[in-house]
């Protein structure tokens, strides 16, 4: 059972990673939600003991490699939002989907701010529209991610 549990979590993160790499036409690209962050937030909320900062860190490093950013940039953003999530996860679990989505928007904005800060320190001007559009789309997608992953988790009987 233990192997299946980790396999399902790993598979969902892999799908998130593929969605992050998938080529999109240029104008749509800035609207791409941070799939990996959404999926990590879900697993951390559901199973905080299994999916915590360490997994966020390693996934972040993989995202950094796949996106050609500094090693540690996405990792830093993910570690920090997973930490915040770990503090609040009990309260968030009992919220309605809409309230959750707003909370997730906050987390995604924080991660975006961290990524843009690092870009700024590196001397690359960040496009302003990209700043809120991706977290906003992420917020709209959250309920679907949540319901889908919850069903998968229940079917696979992971706890």
């Amino acid at each position: 059972m233990l192997n299946l549990r980790y396999f399902v979590i790993f598979l969902s993160l892999l799908v998130g990673l593929i969605l992050m790499i998938l080529p999109l036409p240029d104008p749509v690209q800035i609207y791409r939600p941070n799939w990996v962050a959404l999926i990590l937030i879900y697993w951390n909320m559901a199973l905080p003991r299994r999916v915590g900062p360490w997994i966020a860190f390693f996934i972040g490093i993989v995202v950094d490699t796949s996106q050609g950013t500094l090693l540690g940039q996405h990792a830093l953003a993910l570690v920090i939002i997973i930490y915040i999530n770990q503090i609040f996860h009990q309260r968030i679990r009992v919220m309605s989907l809409v309230q959750q989505a707003i909370y997730v928007f906050g987390l995604l904005v924080i991660s975006q701010v961290i990524i843009v800060w690092v870009e700024g320190i590196m001397g690359r001007p960040p496009p302003l529209l990209a700043f809120f559009s991706a977290p906003f789309i992420g917020m709209l997608i959250w309920p679907w991610v949540f319901v889908l992953l919850r069903d998968i988790r229940r079917k696979a009987n992971i706890s």
């Binding site: 892999l14 990673l17 593929i18 992050m20 790499i21 998938l22 080529p23 999109l24 240029d26 690209q29 800035i30 791409r32 199973l47 905080p48 003991r49 915590g52 900062p53 360490w54 966020a56 860190f57 972040g60 490093i61 993989v62 490699t65 796949s66 996106q67 050609g68 950013t69 500094l70 090693l71 540690g72 940039q73 990792a75 830093l76 570690v79 920090i80 997973i82 930490y83 770990q86 009990q90 690092v118 870009e119 590196m122 001397g123 690359r124 001007p125 960040p126 496009p127 990209a130 706890s159």
Partner: protein, 278 residues
């Protein structure tokens, strides 16, 4: 059940440690090259995913070829034959010119090689970071691609290889805000450096003296200085010249000749015409 009331004491400390680790990693990654091994190994693991992701595009073009009609193929064939004939005719002239050039260079005592060895590669994916302009190509160290080699398409210079693993390589485009390429104006011979500014159809040449002999539509080629890019490959055409009267400089915008956003086949240029000291 204990999942419901889970709060571990070590989480804060662990997070603090990881945040420190991330910052250290970013610092080391920006300043030094030590993490190149880590990067190339992770991207090696990721390369099947990259192939998987580029699969729809590949199948699309394959299906397109398979389904295109007989007449279309015939037309294309005859067009290609015509083009081949024209190129052959030009080539004959080229060979004479090449021989002459070699002779003249020998007379001058210069040992610059004319023919560069190239590796043909295909675009795998475009990196999805809106702040960077990076592409992945499907050739790696197994095929002879090395760090720092120039990448061109049929129209001009595209960029250079910045990360490489066994099967794939990451290329930074000349339009990336972090990239700069040494160039020379064909007409006047003025040397300069062209910076990327993040948009695919613009390069910036900063701090040229106001007296420099530059006109719109001037051609820019690589100067070969610095040893990274082989000399004399076309880079860009000047599209606008802005005089900054207060500082006595002009800033020039140029349009890259390479199709940075649409080329699927690229060439990795192998030899660095004897200038390279790497």
């Amino acid at each position: 059940m204990n999942q419901l009331h889970y709060r571990e004491q070590g989480t804060s400390i662990r997070t603090l440690f990881l945040v420190g680790l991330c910052i250290a990693l970013m610092f080391v990654d920006q300043r030094f090259n030590h993490l190149e091994v880590v990067r190339s190994n992770i991207s090696l693991v990721l390369s099947p995913i990259r192939y998987l992701v580029s699969l729809p595009a590949i199948t699309g073009s394959w299906a397109n070829e398979w389904l295109s009609s007989h007449i279309e193929l015939l037309n294309e064939n005859s067009a290609l034959k015509a083009k081949g004939r024209i190129l052959n005719a030009r080539l004959q002239k080229m060979q004479v010119l090449k021989a002459e050039n070699t002779r003249l260079r020998n007379m001058l005592g210069s040992s610059r090689k004319l023919a560069d060895q190239v590796i043909v590669a295909e675009l795998l994916s475009v990196d999805q970071n809106p702040y960077r302009q990076l592409i992945e190509i499907n050739k790696g160290t197994f095929d002879g691609v090395e760090l720092g080699l120039a990448v061109i398409d049929d129209f001009g210079v595209m960029g250079q290889v910045i990360h490489v693993n066994q099967y794939t390589a990451t290329t930074i485009l000349i339009s990336d805000p972090e990239h700069a390429i040494p160039v020379q104006f064909i007409r006047s011979g003025t040397r300069s450096v062209a910076f990327g500014n993040g948009s695919v159809d613009q390069l910036e040449l900063r701090y040229l003296p106001a007296t420099a002999d530059i006109k719109v539509n001037d051609q820019l080629v690589t100067s070969g200085l610095g040893g990274r890019f082989p000399a004399d490959y076309p880079v860009a055409t000047v599209i606008s010249i802005t005089k900054d009267l207060t500082h006595g400089f002009v800033s020039v915008l140029a349009k890259p000749l390479a199709r940075l956003d649409s080329s699927r086949e690229v060439l990795v240029v192998k030899s660095n015409n004897g200038l390279a000291a790497e």
